[in-house]
Amino acid sequence: MASTNKCIRVPLSPENRVAGTRKHLQIALQYAIVPLTLLLLWEAAVRFGWVPNSLIASPSQVAIRLMKMLGNLSLEKNALVSLKRLSVGFALGTATGIAAGVLVGASRIGARMLEPTILTLLPIPPIAWIPLLIILFGIGDASKIALISLGSFCTLFFSTTYGIRTADRNLVELAQVLDKDRRILVLEILLPGAIPNILSSMRVALALSWTLLICSEVIASSSGLGWLIWDARNFSRADDMIVGMIAVGILGKASDWLLDLLERRLTRWRVAYRELQNG
């Protein structure tokens, strides 16, 4: 996009330059003020004993521990295990959710056969499935992946069906007038029309996947970030516990950023409010 945004550089007068720097500083401050205040408050709360320091570690203790755990690879190992479960579960759930959504959204027979069942099962919170999933898929990776994909499936099914049903009526009529067959109607009109819906709900599904991942790793596990957090809590290792939480936060943000990137690429044709905000 950079090429289209080229602008002519006008040499700034000294006053303007000062104003520019001040503006940059102001923006940096707007970004930094909340995290910095939170960090300072947190450090103070632990140092001055406002919170029990046997249960909550200070940011400085956590930072030291984070370096140690990165150094001995224990954090990376557990993160890899979690990322594998997350990506397989998310991919599986997303793919089946979109497929079922297209089927139900585009075909009346599909809707009659699947929709009532899926819509009845949809309101059951994925966590309530855990006991059944453990019995069906065991306590290994399979039940964890199943739980994550269940969450993604529900989210994607809903948004895909909705996206297809709210497709542009004019385009659909046009395709019918031009005698296009169903395959083309689905692949070239209905599905692309639903893509903004699908992509934004993929981000919701991803956030849910992280939640479900951590839930599943707490129940029966011996590795992964959820287990790391749980095990640290079990033995009152407050610093390890917060390192695990931070790792989840950072990886969660990174994965969301990747999806955001994908969303921007695939929906470039849509002019959204976001572009106005970014100027």
Binding site: S54, I135, I219, A220, S222, A238
Partner: protein, 326 residues
């Protein structure tokens, strides 16, 4: 930005000082609430275990309430389903006396929580069970197997220690961290190869013909009761009475095993034959003594060496308070 502005939102100065005062009041009242006269002693226990027999009998017979009524206080009982909330409650003054095994107290002590062991309920051997039709007959056969256990319990310690004795290190088998109810499910559906747990879970599997213990292993669970340091300091006389009730109850359950078994079975909502099978394994005459101190120190050292706890715990350095048993 002018003074009195909080970033871009203008807050009238008078109103902000009212908010600040209200917050201060909230903090102060929060700190004050536990310095009142003792109204309630909060007892906590962990999971379902036969080794709490004496505690359960004292609870059911109302002996704690009797002893506390002289102080104008009442007993409140809480059961914890997992370990972390116990240490978290001790650290935040939400429980006073807890009944558990020694390792969680050691973990709490290591993290700097002010907790002291004031007595022993009983001792009981650590047992590992396998499905009845399992090919595992000796401890050595557990190599490469999946073993369910709740991390941080005496069963966890006992499992690692027992298997280390037959030459199996932590990488020779897989430990699956599960609470007893989850582990029971996994064990009965064949998702784990073995389960290290305590009574009455062991006897339930034996009675239903689904599990059998593997012989061998000499690790012992010390079922202890511990108290919050602050509680002991503020109410030493109450602490002494509670310990006396426990001693009385331990003597009573030894003298009246049938009645005690019936009470425990009722409290746990289990058939009495399960409790009867578990009862002889519990040694109710156990007390704080040199052998117990040595065993707890070995547990503390093991937890530290294995990296479960961060700071070493010297058991002899004020962690055990035998003064109330005198």
């Amino acid at each position: 930005m002018k003074r009195g502005d909080i970033f871009c939102i203008r807050v009238p100065r008078a109103r902000s000082s009212v908010i600040a005062a209200a917050l201060m009041l909230l903090v102060l009242t929060g700190c004050k609430q536990h310095e009142q006269k003792l109204e309630e002693v909060r007892f906590g226990s962990f999971s379902v275990a036969v080794d709490y027999g004496a505690y359960l009998v004292a609870q059911q017979k109302g002996w704690f309430d009797q002893a506390l009524s002289a102080e104008g206080a009442k007993a409140h009982y809480e059961m914890f389903q997992s370990l972390p909330p116990i240490n978290e409650s001790l650290a935040t003054n939400r429980v006073d006396v807890v009944f558990e095994a020694a390792p969680p107290a050691i973990a709490g002590k290591s993290a700097g929580i002010d907790v002291k062991i004031v007595g022993v309920s009983c001792t009981v051997p650590v047992e590992i069970i396998v499905p009845t039709d399992s090919s595992v007959h000796r401890l050595q056969d557990l190599k490469g197997k999946k073993i369910a256990v709740l991390a941080g319990t005496s069963s966890h310690y006992g499992l690692l220690k027992t298997l280390a004795k037959v030459g199996l290190g932590p990488s020779d088998f897989q430990v699956i961290d599960m609470t007893p109810p989850d582990a029971k499910n996994a064990f009965e559906t064949g998702q784990v190869d073995a389960w290290s747990v305590w009574s009455p879970w062991i006897e339930q599997e034996e009675a239903s013909g689904k599990g059998r213990p593997i012989p061998g292993g000499d690790a012992v669970v010390y079922s202890i009761f511990a108290a919050r340091g602050g509680f002991i300091r503020d109410h030493p006389e109450v602490m002494k009475k509670i310990v006396a009730v426990m001693q009385q109850s331990k003597a009573w359950v030894q003298a009246h095993p049938d009645e005690a078994e019936a009470i425990v079975a009722k409290q746990m909502n289990l058939p009495v034959n399960i409790i009867q099978a578990a009862w002889p394994k519990q040694n109710w005459s156990a007390q704080i003594n040199e052998g117990m101190i040595t065993d707890l120190q070995a547990k503390a050292d093991f937890l530290k060496q294995s990296g479960f706890i961060r700071n070493p715990v010297n058991v002899r350095n004020g962690f055990i308070d035998n003064g109330f048993n005198q």
